[in-house]
Symmetry: C2
Subunit: 264 residues, 2 copies
């Protein structure tokens, strides 16, 4: 089979090495895509899966001064099995300690933060629309936007327990939660009585959901695609480009890290 | 019927008026769309059709100093029936006089020029890919790019007299002419042996043609949509946004004119 559970001996501690005991590691869609071979990063096999998590330092080599036993560390970059930062420069200690927060800090909240910061200069009172709003990134967007005074319109799929989900997202700080079907209904006008049309749309779905979301974007607004859960292309009427001057971009946190590795 | 040919009396010449005799007026797709009511500009009816052309000044009012009888003029902005610039500020005398050039100067070549200039900083030796390459804009792109040392890859639909069309576009300065079908063939590699992958793609078609053209765009490259001859949406795989960071924009010369009316 493709995946195998294997016990490994812990390597002998080198002068610049650090031994880390993994405390928690989430599974992201990207991790599954990497195993499927559909991700643009292919690791030489055999490889250890997973790209984020949190660990406790057990032991450090005699040249390591920046870390000490008991410290918590998270991986400095995405990639298979990178749970042990080998160089002290790569250390990044999370400020807050609940294990679930630390373990899921390096991918989704970073994606959410950069997308809110890098594409449109949003001011308090401005609004953002996003689909897959109950995803890891989506929930981070809601909380970061809330803390910044930016209003969020959150699109989710209809489901039997919709009201519970709405309640949960509102508790996180969502201003509006709507279903994909509602996007094309005249009632959407009511949403825009209290907040302006969004200048930024965050797309993790593709297909129809994206096209419908795009209707509500301000002229000259930007849609950023960072996922494709529907496994369908982004479809845009040419008139949106020509007559509304919408701008379509993409975001990939792994590439962002590479591009900004200097300023780490 | 919707369209009517009508003889009108020439209005009496006011102090700031100019009488212009129309020499030539082309019909653009946008003119037809306006009559169909599918264009975002709707003129109050009854309206005179057409948005560009060239005319000769026959007579000027006594306050007009910037124009004199015999001058050639073209309309200063797009819009129904604007063949008579009423204010001397709107005068724009074409430098070159062949009537066909003057009559078609204000829409397509401007579109071509701005799209080449405003989205990517292209240097001599860089390349551009465009579909509908035999359109008015397409031919202008070929000539302006050629004059700037920029290489063009020109996509056209297959047709019985393809070799004649290829010859004509090559004579205008095209570097490569390919059919839509060729875009997904391995032979496209040969094109990129002599020139770099394009940083800019110009899209006037939509649908499959656009998706295929997008494959050849450089990472971080820009595709500008300015038309939708296929009457199909632009379709983009989410991976192109996320992993190749392509940027999609739109262009509309009418909006550009409005945005830059100050610097006229």
């Amino acid at each position: 089979s493709l995946l195998r559970l294997k016990d490994l001996e812990v390597a002998e501690l080198g002068d610049s090495d650090v031994h880390v005991k993994r405390l928690a590691a989430p599974i992201n869609p990207a991790d599954i895509n990497m195993i499927q071979g559909t991700y643009p990063i292919l690791s030489p096999l055999p490889a250890v899966g997973g790209s984020e998590g949190v660990g406790e330092v057990l032991e450090v080599g005699r040249c390591v001064t920046a870390l000490k036993p008991g410290d918590w560390v998270i991986p400095a970059s995405a990639g298979l099995g990178e749970c042990v930062p080998r160089h002290p420069r790569h250390r990044w200690t999370p400020a807050r300690r609940p294990v679930r927060c630390a373990a899921t800090l390096s991918v989704n909240p970073c994606t959410a933060y950069r997308m809110l910061a890098d594409f449109e200069a949003l001011a308090p009172g401005d609004s953002v629309i996003q689909n897959a709003a109950n995803s890891g990134v989506g929930q981070a967007v809601i909380q970061i936007a809330k803390a910044s005074g930016i209003k969020t319109i959150n699109v989710v799929r209809d489901r039997p327990d919709l009201s519970k989900l709405v309640e949960r997202l509102m508790a996180l700080g969502a201003d509006h939660v709507v279903t994909e079907e509602m996007l094309r209904k005249p009632e959407m006008k009511d949403v825009f009585k209290s907040i302006p049309k969004p200048r930024l749309a965050l797309n993790c779905v593709g297909g129809k959901s994206t096209t419908e979301m795009l209707r509500h974007l301000q002229p000259k607004g930007t849609m950023v695609t960072y996922g494709g859960m529907a496994k369908q292309p982004v479809m845009v009427p040419v008139s949106a480009f020509i007559f509304r001057d919408v701008r379509l971009r993409g975001f990939w946190v792994t590439q962002w890290r590479k591009d900004h590795a200097q300023g780490e």
